[in-house]
Symmetry: D2
Subunit: 145 residues, 4 copies
Amino acid sequence: MSDHNTQRDKYAYFSRIQTRWMDNDVYQHINNVVYYSFFDTVCNEYLIEKAGFNPETAPVVGYIVSSSCQYLAPLSYPVKIDAAFRVNRLGNSSVEYGVAVFAEDECSAAAWGTYTHVFVSRETDKPTSIPDQIRQALAAALIHP
Amino acid sequence: MSDHNTQRDKYAYFSRIQTRWMDNDVYQHINNVVYYSFFDTVCNEYLIEKAGFNPETAPVVGYIVSSSCQYLAPLSYPVKIDAAFRVNRLGNSSVEYGVAVFAEDECSAAAWGTYTHVFVSRETDKPTSIPDQIRQALAAALIHP
Amino acid sequence: MSDHNTQRDKYAYFSRIQTRWMDNDVYQHINNVVYYSFFDTVCNEYLIEKAGFNPETAPVVGYIVSSSCQYLAPLSYPVKIDAAFRVNRLGNSSVEYGVAVFAEDECSAAAWGTYTHVFVSRETDKPTSIPDQIRQALAAALIHP
Amino acid sequence: MSDHNTQRDKYAYFSRIQTRWMDNDVYQHINNVVYYSFFDTVCNEYLIEKAGFNPETAPVVGYIVSSSCQYLAPLSYPVKIDAAFRVNRLGNSSVEYGVAVFAEDECSAAAWGTYTHVFVSRETDKPTSIPDQIRQALAAALIHP
């Protein structure tokens, strides 16, 4: 179970991200908050690159309803990291992503967590079924424990 | 149980925070990542203001080992928010904080979550008992469900 | 001239902002980048609160074309700051703001700078005359050296 | 002159940076503040990678005393950018960097600016001559108009 969250080969998609000077906090480590910006970045990138999602015009919008992170090892700028992405659970209108952060060339995660999106209609702001194109792309990233 | 997390009177300490223009994302809402900076801010403020903690010189340092957030309602700049703080659980070297975000003058939380600190020796980087002065201040913020 | 930029009574509008833990960098000071988020926040707040500007629906949008900052003294979380605002120069479609950051209760600025907005039509993305309601509010904040 | 600031071949060093979802503001563009974090990142990376600068232990520290940016064209996540760096002017204790942001594969800058560092002794906090190893690395990045 632990391996399922911390190993690189348990994830479906990766985004290489250069850390920034201001990511470091007073203890010389990437601040805990910043990990969520890595998660946020890889989730939206997957939707845009693989699911044809256009944040400006899509009839649906993904709202985050919960998120979590387990921090295993510190990282520091100027390290490059790989933000990792998979789908843990795919519902009718909601999806739980599995996310993790790996230092460049490392197989074992420095942090991992979850992100849950509920898709809502941009017009009514009400939960709505995940559109087919997005659902297919998300299904392709499902990795079961 | 839900009330225990979402009601203002279930928290022990508050920090009024002005949101910033860049906190808003493309959907005109405070980005999900930013909530953790509110949590981070109120936790450290409590340690500094109430527990005599000095981040530059203290012999112990608090490392975040896990965090989570449940998002209940959107917020938008220029709202002022109250970041709320309590202690959920106080161990030997670790402490779980309960945290929440309230829009100014609202009794019901827009988001709530948890933050877990492990205190380590600044010198050895190993977990260490929470020093007495900090422990007393944290004990004063314990609110049981 | 120096006084014109550094003294509190040379500014027209203020926004009290609580600094955040992650604003501090490895040198225990508010990172230089963060000052611009203070400037950005007070400029947009003035437009929203005093000029009836609605970022979601207004027919014009303000684009930043240049910005600058002079850093005079370091600040550190958990200080509260006052972001200060005035209008330096009011053109047909552009406006230069004078901005500064004061530690709470300090008369002399920790930093000051300039921000230049060009107003464009949301529809055409072309520069456009500043609408009357906004122009009047900006004119009220003009403070000449 | 304009060419000197906006053309890719007028810069000495580049850092590829993946933009982040939360970099985008309500107008779907990278927020003006974020450009300074790109500048900050490439300047410190040059010091660390090319000048042997260690932010934790070096006897000198670089404080930012002024910064500026000219914004020429909007950028949006998920674009990758190249943060560009050169030295404009090298003094005894201070150095002015020329910085710019290019969209991946673009020759013409989306933004350019300046950053001025004053080196101070970590112990006394007073300005100090730039140490030889750093000075040589900075001299190697001088590009005169």
